[in-house]
């Protein structure tokens, strides 16, 4: 793939993801060491490796794919119970995780293929895994992806350091030694022709020049940065050892209309070289084109500049309305949002003081605006993430012998960057699932009277403060009876249960559920839908499926626009306060009088089960005389939350709970109230379903014996 902005950004995302997955992998392996039979952990560990391999494949990172493939295969055997998770196996796997982390770090540094050292280290680690693999397995079974376009062998550096560099403590030999950490220094020529005759030589002045051939995958800016401390006084020229690869990928690049941009983006020249060329251009005359200056100054190869010029001409013909985007350091945004969060708290404390000045409503309005504009900085179009799947669809179709037309709509719908990053994995699973299980092979489609080419649609739109992402295909659709049979077979439901279509479709999100008869090498390893639902739920979103047998399926993910601030509804139970996400609240009613122990009430002729928060959280003291019920809705099911006091709407800045509380269900975070008290934010989904399970267990007949 080429190094367009999108791709570079996506690569950043991948690296973030990969690090998280590796953390999960390591954590899982460590806990397997103490409890080797924990199937949940075995599944989690396997999925981490599986997902990592999948994402690496997206970027054509062959070295990462082939190594991780072996690890994944081995973990697959562990999951199937064919290989035991002995301490020896864990000790062999842990260094593999470390190795993958190293390779990922290399990718982060711009090395898109394995260095010789990485290759050797990887092979040694895989050798250690071999005894654990059942049967005759060979690492060569890994899927091989097309080579990345970027294959410059390395760089030729021509270095003449400033005369004062030694006096400044800058030792050229030290820089050259450092170059060796980026790759292999293939050739060094020391040019001493500038050394004056003996008596005229000042031993503290630098006279030497160097020419170095560096074999490396490191991009030019990284090589250039070695000399950042001496760049101003020195003459540093860095040209590719193999110019042709740049020509190739300038031709494959997206549209840019300035030649400098084209060269910059290809990595053929660096920003400081462009600056240098622009300076020279200004000094000489305005009529010399920048490309020519770059060639004359030896900053760029003529063939590369020519390719860039050709590219530029093409762009001039087909200029499109490019959307202007800015890149913002995410950490600065986080800081800004943090500050705004504090501001919101400060504002809350003024309203709590009860001083009804008009100015305060103005402050409220302003803060609201600041909050919106700050959040909007984090918003990015989801299109970039969706477009990532073009490649997946293409590759998967080739593998499966299917023909699929991918249509992306609503790519300009915006959502929080953090959310975009975390939703792309679940989406990848859904896309693969549709391709693998949904859309039929061409022959079967024709037999069913459909066009041979299947259709996959990715659609995104805003809906009432949420973003909705749909993955729709015109394939087989879900087979209600088959799902039902499988669910009974797997013991997920009892054979006598009567379920609605929606409830049956929902079963595909249960752990361990897979309807594929033949396990293919794509999504069919049974990783998938349960993880997708868990990931979506973790983002405070929901997922639903709609399907017409024989005509296709639509999977719809609904997510909040941001994770940082929510509109909450503040309630009080005794001395404690809780926040219920406002979008879950449908209404509030007074708790009608009734017997003490009951757990449901009549709401306009319907039975409404409720949960007493005082009981749930073990809050001591007597209930208020008049209690209220906050009615919340989750997946179409309504439940009441019994509280003492309704305290009204509250803009809630979410503070995550510490790792100590990570196992806590029902609570998704905390916030600080204007008076300094802490309120827990209720996670309605788990709260309701946990309660329902609990009730079911309670009502089930007590087994005899």
């Amino acid at each position: 793939m080429s190094f367009s902005d999108d791709a570079a950004e996506a690569l950043d995302i991948f690296i973030t993801e990969a690090r998280e997955l590796l953390e999960a992998l390591e954590e899982g392996l460590l806990s397997l060491e103490s409890d080797p039979s924990d199937t949940e952990t075995v599944n989690a560990v396997f999925r981490s490796a599986h997902t990592l391999k999948g994402s690496a494949g997206l970027f054509g990172l062959n070295h990462l794919v082939s190594f991780t493939h072996v690890v994944e295969t081995l973990l697959g055997h562990v999951r199937e119970g064919e290989v035991r998770a002995t301490p020896e196996l864990i000790s062999a796997l842990l260094p593999c995780a470390d190795h993958i982390a190293q390779v990922v770090a290399g990718v982060a540094d711009g090395r898109l293929s394995a260095s010789a050292a990485e290759e050797a280290a990887g092979a040694a680690l895989l050798d250690r895994l071999a005894p654990f693999l059942p049967g005759a397995f060979h690492a060569a079974a890994a899927p091989v992806l097309p080579e990345a376009v970027v294959d410059a062998r390395g760089w030729r550096l021509q270095l003449r350091f400033g005369p004062d560099c030694l006096r400044n403590g800058m030792d050229p030999m030290s820089f050259l030694r450092y170059l060796g950490t980026l790759g292999t220094v293939d050739r060094v020529h020391v040019d001493d022709s500038a050394l004056p005759e003996g008596a005229d030589m000042d031993p503290e002045t630098s006279y030497l020049a160097f020419e170095v051939d560096l074999l490396t995958d490191a991009p030019k800016p990284e090589v250039e940065s070695v000399f950042e401390f001496v760049r101003d006084e020195s003459d540093i020229r860095i040209t590719p050892l193999a110019a042709s690869s740049y020509v190739d990928y300038i031709e494959a690049m997206p549209q840019r209309d300035r030649i400098g941009d084209v060269l910059l983006e290809s990595g053929a020249v660096t920003p400081s070289e462009i600056d240098q060329a622009l300076r020279i251009q200004r000094e000489r005359s305005l009529t010399v084109p920048i490309g020519q200056v770059l060639i004359e100054e030896g900053l760029a190869d003529p063939a590369v500049v020519e390719a860039a010029l050709t590219r530029q001409r093409k762009v001039a013909d087909s200029r499109s309305a490019d959307t202007q985007t800015i890149r913002i350091d995410a950490s600065r945004l986080d800081r800004l949002i943090d500050l705004v969060g504090e501001l919101v708290i400060a504002q809350a404390s003024t309203t709590m003081a009860g001083d009804g000045l008009e100015a305060q409503s103005e402050v409220t309005r302003l803060i609201d605006e600041v909050r919106h504009s700050a959040l909007s900085l984090r918003m990015v179009p989801i299109g970039m993430t969706l477009r990532r799947f073009e490649r997946v669809v293409r590759d998967v179709c080739v593998d499966l012998g299917k023909e699929v037309q991918l249509t992306i709509t609503g790519g300009d719908a915006e959502m929080d960057k953090a959310l975009v990053e975390r939703i792309s994995d679940p989406l990848l699973h859904l896309v693969r699932n549709s391709l693998d299980h949904g859309i039929e092979p061409p022959a079967e489609r024709v037999r069913c009277g459909k066009p041979a080419q299947g259709s996959l649609r990715l659609n995104a739109y805003h809906d009432a403060g949420n973003i909705v992402i749909e993955v729709a295909d015109d394939g087989r659709g879900l087979d209600r009876d088959k799902i039902l049979a499988k669910a009974v077979d797997r013991g997920l439901i009892s054979g006598s249960a009567s379920l609605s279509d929606a409830e049956i479709y929902d079963l595909i999100f249960e752990p361990g559920f897979s309807t594929a008869d033949a396990v293919s090498n794509l999504s069919g390893r049974g990783v998938g839908m349960d993880v997708v639902r868990r990931n979506v739920a973790a983002l405070r979103g929901s997922i639903e499926v709609e399907s017409v047998r024989g005509h296709g399926a639509v999977i719809r993910i609904r997510l909040p626009l941001t994770l940082a601030i929510i509109d909450g509804f503040l309630v009080g139970v005794g001395p404690s306060s809780f926040i219920v996400p406002l979008d879950r609240v449908t209404e509030c009613v007074e708790l009608p009088p009734g017997p003490r122990g009951r757990d449901c009430m009549n709401l306009r002729g319907e039975v409404l089960p409720f949960i007493r928060l005082r009981q749930l959280f073990g809050i001591p003291g007597e209930s208020a005389r008049r209690q209220n019920v906050v009615v919340v809705e989750q997946s179409g099911q309504r439940t009441g939350l019994v509280v003492d006091a309704l305290l009204g709407e509250f803009q809630t800045v979410i503070k995550p709970l510490g790792p100590l509380f990570s196992n806590l269900k029902c609570v998704s975070g905390s916030t600080i109230l204007g008076n300094g008290d802490v309120a827990l934010i209720l996670d309605v989904g788990p709260l309701v379903s946990e309660h329902t399970d609990h009730e079911r267990a309670r009502q089930a007949p007590i087994p005899v014996g």
Binding site: L166, V185, V190, D192, M201
Partner: protein
């Protein structure tokens, strides 16, 4: 044939004194043996002194031999691929 022994650092910190010491030992049409066993550090300032001594020697019709390079000197010369090139560096 004469011998000059270089000791301690051969770096920017000592170049102002090591330079004249080394170059002053050169004579016309003879052989100068430069012993590097006692050199504890070599940087670019030191390197260009060695290169200059060799070139000056050629100009005077003399031979400059570098001998007994310390491990530090060898490591530094390896960086610029001159560990084999400064002839007779043995």
């Amino acid at each position: 044939m004469s011998t000059v022994e270089l000791e301690g650092e051969l770096t920017i910190h000592t170049a102002a004194t090591q330079g004249p010491h080394l170059l002053g030992a050169l004579e016309e049409k003879s052989t100068l043996r430069v012993r590097l066993a006692g050199v504890t550090e070599l940087d670019t300032a030191g390197l260009q002194l060695l290169l200059l001594a060799r070139r000056e020697g050629q100009r005077l019709g003399s031979t400059v031999e570098f001998r007994d390079a310390s491990a530090e000197v060898r490591a530094a010369l390896a960086v610029v691929h001159l560990d084999g090139a400064l002839e007779a560096l043995s």
